[in-house]
Amino acid sequence: MPVKKNILLLIAFCFSFNLFAQSYADKFFNLNNYLNQYYISENPAFLHLDNSDELLSISSGYSGTEGSFKKFVDPGKTTNYSLSFEGKKTLDSIQIFKGSFSLSKQEYRDWQWNFTKYYNSGTPFLIGDSTRGKSRFNGINIRSAYNRLLIEGLYAGAKINYFVDEGLKTISPRPVSEHREIGLTLGLGYYLTTNFVAGISIGMYDNFEKINYKEDEGAIYQETKIYKYSGLDLPQILSKKTESRYYYYNGYKGNLGFDFKMNEKIKVVSKFELENLRSSISDGSTRPYDVGYYNVNNYSGQLATVYLLEYFSGFMNYEYFNTAGWAKHPYYNILLMENEGEHHKIGLGCNYRITNNLSMASDVSYKLGSIEYNDYYSGLDWNGDSNEFNFKFGLNIAVSSIIKTKLIYGYGVKKIFDATMNYIGESFFSSNPRRTDALFLLSNYSNHFVGAEFNLLLEKAGKICFNINYNKYSPDESSVQYKNSDLNKVELLLEYRVNVY
């Protein structure tokens, strides 16, 4: 192998990336290529079913969220920047390797009363302070996947994810944080026949967050309040300048999947997944003491089928997801909160090639969900059922042999019904802004989606791809809490792919 190629391979290996990111537009128009165990079950043993080309990809991404239709603990504005390198290489007839490296910079603006980055994991144990301002996180992410044919029909694979970042709130009291996330998945895949495939994988991840409040110069001129939450209400409000929090987060996942090809026209894929996530939190730098324990069990299943003709393909998809979480007091054997949610989702889609240069795709889905939340610590509970309807339509246009574009428009609406909310906390609904963390989940809303992808094929010079996705969420006009508010999400990705091997 020439030296140049070795170096590039080394870069792809050590500084790898984004294989793991899929173009939404590509998946929308070529869903058939994504209906297999590699994508459905994320089983690395099926890396050979990854449909990306053996190219080195360099991409620059931006995503941002802004708007007031959000939970209280969500930042008012988020921006994420990333620079990624990704490569895939078939090492020989029985081994494939794929790797990525990315640099990321995240900014959370107008983030109030919270500095816990894992606040959306469901844990009620959060820590923050009384100042409102910008926080930034700079990190790196390394991912790689590898599979190998062990014996005839039997594949083994592994993938790893390693992420670290450092965070800083840029105004007093200037807390700092460190995050480290490690994920490892091992999988086996077996072809019982050419038409029937079974896969099994197990995964574990280990995340760690450390937050440090130290006395800074600003503390002389400004009072600092540190907030510690164990529920939506009754935060501990401390007049102190120093604190340390350690957040340990472990997850284990088991997955079983089957692909069945009935004939050349019909294929069925399925997966069943169990997941356990648990976290323990402690405070104090010299003598750490327990703050709480949080546990979540998830189980899910998916069954999808595709019907293929020369110009037409049709899809049908069913998904089920169930989650149940609970939190325990650090010293007493009592429940502080528990929640349960589930949804059923049915989707239908089709893809029709009108001419060689023009095709269309559409899908429609319906989701029936329910959520029940009991915050015993705060004396608060709520529950509700929801209907969610989504529709998308897109055109895939080859403008010329070197310029190709995909355009998608989508509309969705979510309606809550049979919702109730009860509380005994005296002041919860009059003075606690975190009431919106509950109300947000029980809000009706609609959303518009626009997505576009532009590809420029430069033959030997590679391929340039530009992706843009825009989502706008608008709460129901009758919403008292979120009147005249909305939430806008933008994702941009500029990618250059080149064959360097």
Binding site: I220, L234, I237, L238, I334, L335
Partner: protein, 395 residues
């Protein structure tokens, strides 16, 4: 290449697994839910006074205050005819408990042969109870002490220093209030700073007889020189100056009743303000109390009878008229230094240089203005934004 890739990946896996800090153990899901347990408290008189009066130890129809310093919630409950209290909807935590059973003049006539005011039964030994949803046993709170309420109260302590003035801290003061119906004289009374040292690991909270101190000052006068009239406030300032000259958000203390002047140090003396008399202060150029945490008591005791213990002076607890402790972190009552017999809780939670003050809560008791005193600063005091020397923020 094929041979190289497997060892590299294996090494990477091992490296990553070694990076894992802690494995979170699986815990069982608890059965009991917070706030859903019915707690039961039983009030029992252990002094024998109620047994003598009514033939029963039950403390009936008596108000109980519960407060969690860490959660900031407070509950006021009343015992029933059996001396019991049942309640629910309360989060699990350690709660300060304060029970005060006032004895009437008629009851004191039976007990002591005289119609006496200001006597009451209190819980001095058990003043912290654990309410936890997984424990449904009845919690007994004994009323074990009969006390005579002092007419003099520490009504305010301002200690943190003003904002926007760098490290300026010379405007500290302690304020005393007379809540009796008659004039009382301050002459000779002591102001004592309770000593403890986290550096040396010294804390005398468990000493059953004495308060340990390295800073004791005395009011001037020969017995009747410095009266404090009913409803009057008197401030003893670190320096009796208009501190707004040095710190714009500070306070004018140039006309207060007393100041601490340390004549063996480069201290400032305002000739118009009577000086407190230093009995003992081992260090510092001025009377100095902690900005965020400390404990102060006022006492009536002959200075010549104070006992030396190493480099400390010992003051008998029984001579204490009132005492207050303040802490920087109100959730850490285990760091208290003042015996619960004097103050079972703590006020504060104030940071340095914020200009905040701790003031005793004003209550209206049968038409009379009183300052709250349950011998528990967690219940009795409130933090205000600005100091109020020689007046109360509620008046």
């Amino acid at each position: 290449m094929k041979k190289k890739i497997l060892p590299i990946i294996s090494a990477l896996f091992l490296l990553l697994i070694n990076s894992c800090d802690t494995s979170v153990a699986i815990e069982e899901k608890p059965i009991d839910k917070d706030r859903e347990t019915v707690f039961k408290i039983s009030l029992v008189d252990k002094t024998g006074n109620l047994l003598k009066l009514y033939g029963s130890q039950k403390v009936v129809n008596t108000e109980v205050l519960l407060k969690s310093n860490s959660l900031g919630v407070e509950y006021k409950l009343t015992s029933d005819d059996e001396g019991q209290i049942s309640f629910s909807g309360v989060p699990s935590d350690l709660f300060l408990v304060s029970v005060k059973r006032n004895l009437t003049r008629e009851e004191m006539l039976v007990l002591r042969g005289q119609e006496l005011d200001f006597y009451r039964l209190v819980n001095s030994k058990i003043n912290l109870i654990e309410l936890r949803a997984d424990n449904k046993n009845v919690i007994e709170v004994p009323l074990d002490t009969l006390i005579l309420d002092s007419p003099l109260k520490i009504s305010e302590i301002y200690a943190c220093g003003p904002p926007s003035a760098g490290l300026y801290f010379h405007d500290k003061y302690i304020e005393i209030f007379n809540q009796s119906d008659s004039t009382v004289y301050l002459d000779g009374l002591l102001i004592v700073d309770v000593y403890a040292s986290s550096y040396y690991g010294l804390n005398y909270i468990d000493d059953p007889k004495y308060i340990h101190s390295k800073s004791i000052w005395k009011f001037p006068g020969r017995g009747t020189d410095y009266p404090i009239h009913p409803g009057e406030f008197k401030v003893c300032a670190e320096d009796g100056l208009d501190h707004r000259m040095n710190a714009p958000y500070s306070v004018d203390l140039s006309h207060v009743s007393f100041e601490f002047y340390k004549d063996d140090a480069p201290d400032v003396d305002n000739a118009a303000v009577p000086n407190m008399i230093k009995i003992y202060q081992s260090a510092g150029n001025d009377w100095l109390i902690g900005g965020e945490k400390d404990a102060l008591v006022i006492a009536q005791f002959d200075e010549d009878s104070l006992i030396w213990y190493d480099d400390q002076l010992l003051l008998p607890i029984k001579s204490v008229l009132d005492g207050v402790e303040y802490l920087d972190d109100l959730t850490k009552l285990k760091e208290k230094t003042l015996t619960p017999m004097i103050d079972a809780g703590a006020t504060g939670g104030i940071e340095f240089y914020t200009g905040k003050t701790m003031e005793r809560i004003l209550i209206n008791e049968n038409g009379k203005i009183r300052l709250k005193d349950d011998n528990n600063s967690s219940f009795d005091f409130k933090v205000y934004e600005h100091p109020t020397p020689e007046y109360h923020s509620s008046l």
